[in-house]
């Protein structure tokens, strides 16, 4: 995670795309996404609140943001393994960056990596909802410190 704090969101994104490109077989890629989810630290139960929940019908997702020393740290969780993996990618993408950087960047790694074709629209839309919520948190931090 220390590397992620020094490099830009864009280069982290390229890194993720490169990693995903290693898997040609769908099953392997699916397994890789699940592994990423398994590596994501569990979100403490106290943060699994309604306020931290991303609305969606298929799985439960919680994202808990904190701001310290001008940068955002994200903690997140989901009850579905692949969704957890995807959320882990967003956490890796944004954690350690300023709210302004987060608000300014629209991730397109889902499309560029070919993940969009591998995943159902339901999950791609879920990812977008999670991204939107992270941006909302970031905007909230900007507004609060303005």
């Amino acid at each position: 995670m220390s590397g992620a704090q020094t490099q830009s969101i864009a280069s982290t994104q390229d890194e993720i795309i490169d990693e995903l490109a290693l898997f040609e077989d769908w099953t392997e890629r699916y397994g890789f996404v699940i592994e990423l989810g398994q590596a994501l630290p569990a979100l403490p139960e106290e943060f699994k609140t309604d306020a931290n929940k991303v609305r969606g019908c298929q799985s439960q997702v919680w994202i808990h943001p904190t701001l310290a020393n001008g940068v955002v740290t994200l903690q997140a969780d989901s009850d579905a393994p692949t969704v957890r993996g995807l959320i882990a990618m967003l956490v890796r993408l944004y954690s350690g960056h300023t709210p302004e950087e987060i608000v300014a960047k629209n991730p397109d790694f889902i499309e560029r990596s070919g993940l969009a074709e591998n995943l159902s629209m339901v999950r791609v839309n879920g990812m977008r909802a999670a991204d939107k919520q992270i941006k909302k948190y970031a905007q909230g931090f900007i507004d609060a410190t303005a």
Binding site: Q58, S59, D79
Partner: protein, 415 residues
């Protein structure tokens, strides 16, 4: 009204399958096994041909223009109304109101009958296993009018607690709205008993037949249902067309739903005279092609015989229940004694979304999630389920494929 007539002998499922072009396609390079019929059903060639023919040979607006095309279109549309009338044994074709879907049917009744007849302190009675479409319109009405929504509870098997229904049905109850067959649990509710008891108190009953209409023979007169709704797309017909049935006297006493188009008789800027039934409730140009397609779907179902279909599906469901229950970790959600065509389940601790995804890669289409019926899952204490649901073209081989598919899902997560 149980879905188990004697026998399905003579039901040629392979001949039926030949009528559905999509069943011969592949998904992810695998033959499609379509087990998501509770969400929507596939369409037979005759329905597809009817839509094509309508737009190729009959397209015109209805009821107004004097030319032959308009006459053909009007016949297609009104002919479908008569087919629906016969399908559900309504007394008169003007009791059949074409709407977009079951949801719009419920909204129509809540907005017109409900607004007119329900006031502060009144109660609306629904059940725990309602789909959102039979919850939210009533909730909105309650908020507007200061009325109360009361809910019939269920047991752990997913059956209505009829003793509780008896207690909840009071002089304050102004309408009962219940689902005939649950989309999550497959439970078939005792709607005859509900209607009889409600009528004894002078309370009208709306039946949500969205799931039952394609599994169970319907007879609104024998049931004495006051209102009944269903969607065309679950009945092997097109999307965007549905039916609200209402008794003549009730419909006539209800104010119109939307203004414009066919719903008027005369309009001046001072006053509008409303048209007769059913046009009073069909504002604007309706889904003419959709109605024609629904008519074709009904013809198709009638050609097979609803009782035959129900018998075949019942045998298939029993076969599947047995086969699936042999899988280790398989847990059926919804084990009502009287149920049809739906397997809602969990598989160990594997998330339903992952079950659905891994089955999809094997060509097997099921639904996962909360099925737009959050309260019933909350009641049964499961956050979401996987759901395989049967239609008239499914086979034992497809159930076997589902069993194999689920074992592969287990193997994947056992690694």
């Amino acid at each position: 009204m149980a879905a188990a007539p004697q026998t399905a002998k003579g039901y040629d499922v392979q001949a039926v399958r030949a009528d559905f072009p999509i069943l011969h396609t592949q998904m992810h390079g695998k033959p499609l096994v379509y087990l998501d019929n509770a969400a929507t059903t596939q369409k037979p060639q005759s329905v597809i041909d009817t839509l094509l023919r309508y737009y190729t040979e009959e397209n015109a607006n209805i009821h107004r223009s004097p030319h032959l095309l308009a006459e053909k279109a009007t016949r297609a549309y009104e002919g479908a109304r008569v087919k629906v009338k016969e399908f559900i044994h309504a007394e008169d074709a003007h009791e059949i109101i074409f709407v977009r879907n079951a949801t719009e049917g419920v909204n129509l009744v809540a907005s017109t009958y409900g607004r007119k007849n329900i006031g502060p302190g009144d109660e609306i009675l629904i059940s725990t296993m309602e789909h959102h479409c039979n919850i939210v319109p009533w909730q909105m009405l309650c908020e507007e009018k200061g009325a109360k929504l009361k809910v019939i509870p269920i047991n752990d098997a997913g059956e209505l607690l009829m003793d509780e229904f008896d207690k909840l049905l009071t002089e304050r109850t102004k309408i009962v709205a219940v689902v005939h067959m649950s989309n999550v649990l497959g439970t078939i509710n005792p709607i005859e008993e509900i209607i009889t008891k409600a009528h004894a108190q002078g309370v009208p009953v709306l039946i949500d037949a969205a799931q039952s209409a394609y599994h169970i023979p319907l007879d609104v007169q024998a049931l004495d249902a006051d209102f009944l709704v269903f969607s065309g797309h679950k009945l092997y017909g097109p999307t965007g067309i549905g039916v609200l049935y209402g008794k003549t006297a009730l419909l006539e006493a209800m104010p119109p739903y939307q203004g414009g188009g066919d719903m008027i008789a005369t309009v001046t800027f001072e006053h509008t005279e409303y048209n007769d039934l059913p046009y009073k409730f069909e504002a604007g140009t309706p889904h003419i092609a959709g109605a024609a397609g629904l008519g074709a779907a009904i013809d198709y179902i009638q050609s097979l015989g609803v009782a035959n279909i129900a018998a075949y599906e019942h045998e298939l469901m029993e076969y599947g229940t047995q086969a699936l229950s042999e899988i280790e970790g398989f847990r059926m959600i919804g084990t009502a004694r009287n149920k049809a065509s739906v397997y809602s389940f969990t598989l160990g601790d594997i998330h339903p979304l992952e079950i659905g995804t891994l089955l999809d890669r094997q060509g097997i289409a099921i639904r996962t999630g909360q099925h737009c019926a959050h309260p019933v899952l909350q009641r049964l204490g499961v956050p979401s389920t996987a759901r395989a649901s049967l239609g008239l073209y499914n086979t034992r081989e497809e159930i076997d494929a589902l069993v194999v598919g689920l074992r592969k899902v287990q193997e994947f997560f056992a690694k």
